[in-house]
Amino acid sequence: MQTLCAGLVGVMVAASVYLILDRNLIRFLFGLILAGNAINLLIFAVGRLDSQRPPLIPDPATAMQGSFANALPQALILTAIVIGFALLSFIFVLFYRAYQELGTVDTEFMRVAEADPNDQLPVSSPQPGEPA
């Protein structure tokens, strides 16, 4: 089970790296989501996938018996999912706004902040703190 999970993580990470290396931001986004899920799976696998019983200690005993899945990595994943969701919703809006303003999702043509110094005039965008 664990080997299978490790293999799956490997495949997912490979696919996500392929997508992340693309110039298109949408593909990058899919790659990022895939990588996030792959890493959550990785943490899940790290906490052992042995048993399907809940990690509870029976009444007279004082410690776990047999092999149990560790519950802490699952809590970590929960935190990571929540944080990942917040960041993902931010990045969706950011990419959409960038697409609206810059008119492209191709990173090759996103050159406003670092304009070519050989251009005739420096690109001077109005500073947000200033009344334009």
């Binding site: 992340i20 931001l25 990058f28 990022l32 990588a35 996030g36 890493i39 990785l42 943490i43 790290v46 906490g47 560790n70 802490l72 990595p73 970590l76 935190t79 990571a80 944080i83 917040a86 960041l87 931010f90 990045i91 950011l94 990419f95 706004r97 960038a98 303003e101 810059l102 990173t107 996103m110 050159r111 406003v112 902040a113 670092e114 110094p117 005039l121 420096p122 690109v123 001077s124 965008s125 109005p126 500073q127 947000p128 703190g129 200033e130 009344p131 334009a132």
Partner: protein
Amino acid sequence: MSVLLILPILLPLAGGVIAVFLKSNPKRSLQLALTNAGLQTLTSGLLLYHVHLNGILSTQIGNWPAPFGITLVADHLSAVLVMITAIVNLAVTSYSKADIDAGLIGRGYYPLLQMLVCGICGAFLTGDIFNLYVWFEVMLIASFGLLVLGQSKSQLDGGVKYVVINLLATLLFIAGIGLLYGLTGTLNLADLHTKVPLIANRGLLTAVAMIFVAAFGIKAALFPLFFWLPAAYHTPPVAVSAIFSGLLTKVGIYALIRVFTLVFTVDMGYFYPALLVMAALTMITGVLGAAAQNEFRRILSFHIISQVGYMAMGLALQTRLALAGTIFYLIHHIIVKANLFLVSGVVQRLQGSFELAQLGGIYRSNGWIAILFFIPAFSLAGFPPLSGFWAKMILIRASLDIHQYGLAFVAAAVGLLTVYSMTKIWAEVFWKPAPQANHFSEAMIPRKTSAWMLAPITALALLTIIIGFGAEFVYKFAWQAAEELSHPQYYVNAVLGNRQ
């Protein structure tokens, strides 16, 4: 005294929450932010004093005993960084009064600023590696918001690059944490220190350590991982880029120092020689990148990278003196760098541009601003007796001590090239006669500066001078901090007690 540990996190958190409700009222927002920043400076000052007198302070949140609950720890390094964060926050908040208009405040400038500070202080104070991840996230999401606040084209462009690379770093970080937990079964930094040497599979451990290096290296803008920084730092309002430049990369450096002096203390194979090379290349590429730039804030951005190289160099040398040098460098650099960005904002305000070609004659028209630039700029370059000279001297001395002559040469040469960049700004902005026609763009309307902008710059410049002349005191402090870092047992005892 554990309340002292919580207040530097709690104050900006509470301030950030209250500030959300004051968004529509710029005056109240500012009053709240200033009061809060003042209180925070005060409490972190007390914390620093307490730690300096009584040694490492730690507390268990919710009274869960150490390796299970979340621990907050302040040693010398954490305490002094929290103190400087508070000072920079105070300076930037004061500067914001003149720099940030009601529109940006209405979009949530002050809540984001305070959450950023909350995340930074949390990252400095936590004693738990997963908690460190959470504070990184708090810091990141606040910095994302601040970076694109105002939503100009260049901000969105720089923002995309900044967000993308930082999210990847975050994923690496969490993957590293997961694997480390799988190897050791603990997340507490002090407990990790005792458990990591027991790991049999050293190859796997080194692989995990390298994941952390990549994650923190991106945050700290180390050599092959720095391209996001000069793409983004010159785009937001000046107040924002000042606090970013001072603090964000330094959190990455802090995390590197903490993890490699506390957790990965076993033999790390080729890691330290590799870090030496990375540090040298970071210094060189940063300073050469700056030499090619002609925009005030972009020059300064590239210099952040070269300076980060010095700090990484101190960690890579592995001696106590070198660590003390890194800590001295951190203290000096945060203040100087934030100040330089603030000065660039004042210049932009006077002449309406950041492009060196469009600036000039400030020395003649506003001589005191020239002096306020001169102090941090030549401290950065390492002129005696300013603070940067001592920081560089300690590091070069440390590398000579262990016969790393090549590295010492690189550090000295990069210092010289920094002088080149700073004199370029000096000649173009301050000495050169002002260009005749200011017809480059609509936005270039010169405006008056205000005391709210000049007061923090003057205060930070004074601090630079004080650190320069009081170098012996700061050095003793850094030496003590390095003592704690090179003997992790102090830290472990403070967190876990003496029970092992």
